[in-house]
């Protein structure tokens, strides 16, 4: 594996962005939120396939849990309708609770798995639930991308 070490703070503040990969939605089962688990080729040298697939599968499971229609969602719908949906002024919906769990999971994955490899995952909710955006930062370990990244390090500074 590449020998570069990044942490999340360092990535956000000083490393330069090389590329962005977008993992698209998987609509094979309808309009429920699910992302493709196909491994993008740009990440081949940066992260193990199984780690990436695990992350996407866990995210898909979270979304499936949020959108599941069962006893819990019926109860929530009936109570909400009975109170003319005013109950959501004081209570969080199930979906919002799961979204918080997802945000926490992505943060944890970034810290433990992706930042050390120079990658950063953006929460899909920040991209309209359309894509999982994976930002690829300069790989200090390899020599190939360093020339490309150094030429744009000036342009990324705002």
């Amino acid at each position: 594996m590449a020998t570069e070490f990044h942490n999340l703070q360092e990535l956000r503040h000083s490393a330069s962005l090389v590329n962005k990969v977008f993992v698209q939605r998987d609509y094979s089962e309808g309009t429920t939120c699910k992302f493709q688990t196909k491994f993008p080729s740009e990440l081949e040298s940066r992260v193990e396939r199984t780690l990436f697939e695990d992350t996407v599968k866990t995210l898909n499971n979270f979304y499936a849990e949020a959108e599941k229609i069962g006893a819990h969602s019926y109860l929530e719908a009936c109570v909400a309708c009975g109170t003319a949906y005013l109950i959501f002024l004081c209570m969080e919906t199930r979906y919002e609770k799961v979204l918080k769990k997802i945000a926490k999971y992505i943060q944890e994955q970034n810290e433990k798995v992706y930042a050390p490899r120079g990658l950063l995952i953006t929460d899909p909710i920040d991209r309209g639930m359309r894509v999982i955006e994976i930002s690829i930062y300069e790989d200090r370990g390899s020599s190939g991308s360093s020339s490309a990244s150094s030429s744009m390090s000036g342009s990324t500074a705002r």
């Binding site: 956000r12 503040h13 000083s14 330069s16 962005l17 090389v18 590329n19 962005k20 977008f22 698209q24 939605r25 998987d26 609509y27 094979s28 089962e29 309808g30 309009t31 196909k38 491994f39 993008p40 080729s41 740009e42 949020a66 959108e67 599941k68 229609i69 969602s73 929530e76 719908a77 009936c78 909400a80 309708c81 003319a84 949906y85 005013l86 959501f88 919906t93 199930r94 979906y95 919002e96 979204l99 950063l120 953006t122 929460d123 909710i125 920040d126 991209r127 309209g128 639930m129 359309r130 894509v131 955006e133 930002s135 490309a148 030429s151 744009m152 342009s155 990324t156 500074a157 705002r158």
Partner: protein, 388 residues
């Protein structure tokens, strides 16, 4: 030049594209034209006020006090549903940020290959298999995304809306995934309220004229006449609309799909979203999860300050302005599954990126493929016709 940085909190709703109006610091989101919505409010509140003022005292004394109580409850429910439908985000899909837009643009150009000059490029369509049916996803030139299934672009609000049903001028907003159930409950409860007021108006008139001869002492005060008139005309339209939407819900279709005839006809694809079971379809729409808004309206934007060099961050609170180029490698098959070795890469170079984005914008403006842009207008005109 002043060295002091002005830190005014700018919320994201102030910079959102699209033709929406926002109130209460981004908490309320509506369409621009609100005239008909005010009319709806006036009709409902006015008619109910007349009912409570003139009919209810008589009915409470001579029949039962529960009649006005139930009317109040029903009225409050109708208002709650109306305001919820009008003020909430219908399911607007945010526009693609520059990197995502370029990524998609390059995928499309790679898939189309070299188009000879003078020839129209093929329409931007992505085929997707949903429940073993092929569904075409269309590209939205305004939002620069491939619209998810069932999404459509509303030209009145200038937004792509997920599970777009129609744009309703009566509620002053689009009806989409997030507010469809409120819209349905609004029409249902309004039907009940209209029938209720109409019935008790008739009961009131009949009771008042019970003593004497019906023809001679037909006393109907002006308010009752007004209420009966409003209720009579509302009944036909609102009850009809409720029935129509009940039919749509049982089949898991949207008004947009019904009008376009997406799932009807022998040679057409069958509705892949229907569970083929009325109860399941109804429960999905009425008892399904309350979807969150993906449009961050109240988030705080970082003001761009030229004096400070803020580091490039991938965080979503600021507009990411990473310039890029796109290098198509191999032609892509225009469907959901893209081959591994054909992903375009997005590296950075300011010069090439500027020319490419300009080219992209120009080409978007000049190249008008037969299916994409005109259909947007057709969809909008159909939506307008449906709403009337």
């Amino acid at each position: 030049m002043s060295a002091v940085m002005i830190t005014r909190k700018v919320r994201k709703w102030e910079k959102l594209p699209g033709k929406n109006t926002f109130c209460c610091d981004g908490r309320v989101m509506m369409a621009r034209q609100k005239g008909v919505f005010y009319l709806t409010l006036f009709l409902i509140v006015g008619t109910c006020a007349l009912f409570f003022a003139f009919e209810c005292p008589y009915l409470a004394i001579h029949l039962s006090p529960t009649i006005p109580v139930f009317a109040v409850v029903l009225f409050l429910f109708v208002m709650a549903m109306l305001l919820r439908t009008s003020f909430s985000d219908p399911g607007v899909l945010p526009r693609a940020l520059p990197e995502e837009a370029s990524f998609i643009e390059m995928e499309i150009e790679a898939a189309n290959g070299n188009v000879p000059a003078g020839q129209r490029p093929p329409p931007r369509i992505r085929n997707v298999q949903i429940n073993n049916q092929i569904v075409k996803l269309k590209y939205c030139y305004t939002c620069k995304i491939f619209r998810p299934p069932r999404a459509s672009h509303c030209s009145i609000c200038d937004n792509c809306v997920d599970r777009f049903d129609h744009h309703c001028p009566w509620v002053g907003n689009c009806v989409g995934k997030r507010n469809y159930r409120f819209f349905y409950l609004f029409t249902l409860s309004l039907s009940l309220l209209t029938i209720y007021i109409f019935t008790f108006d008739i009961v009131h008139v009949v009771m008042q004229n019970h003593a004497g001869s019906f023809l001679i002492s037909l006393k109907m005060c002006a308010s009752t006449v007004l209420e009966v008139l409003v209720c009579f005309f509302t009944l036909w339209s609102v009850v009809g609309l409720t029935g129509f939407h009940t039919y749509l819900i049982s089949l898991n279709q949207t008004t947009n799909e019904d009008i376009k005839g997406s799932w009807s006809g022998k040679n057409r694809v069958q509705n892949p979203y229907s569970h083929k079971n009325i109860m399941k379809n109804c429960s999905e729409i009425l008892c399904g999860p309350t979807y969150p808004s993906v449009l961050d309206r109240r988030g705080v934007m970082q003001d761009d300050s030229p004096s400070l060099t803020t580091p490039a961050t991938p965080s979503s609170t600021s507009d990411s302005t990473v310039p890029q180029t796109t290098k198509p490698t191999a032609p892509l098959i225009p469907n959901e599954q893209t081959p591994d070795d054909a992903k375009p890469s997005i590296a950075a170079s300011t010069e090439i990126s500027t020319s490419l984005t300009e080219e992209g914008e120009e080409s978007a403006a000049h190249r008008v493929p037969p299916l994409a842009s005109p259909e947007t207008d057709a969809e909008a005109s159909i939506a307008k016709a449906a709403a009337q």
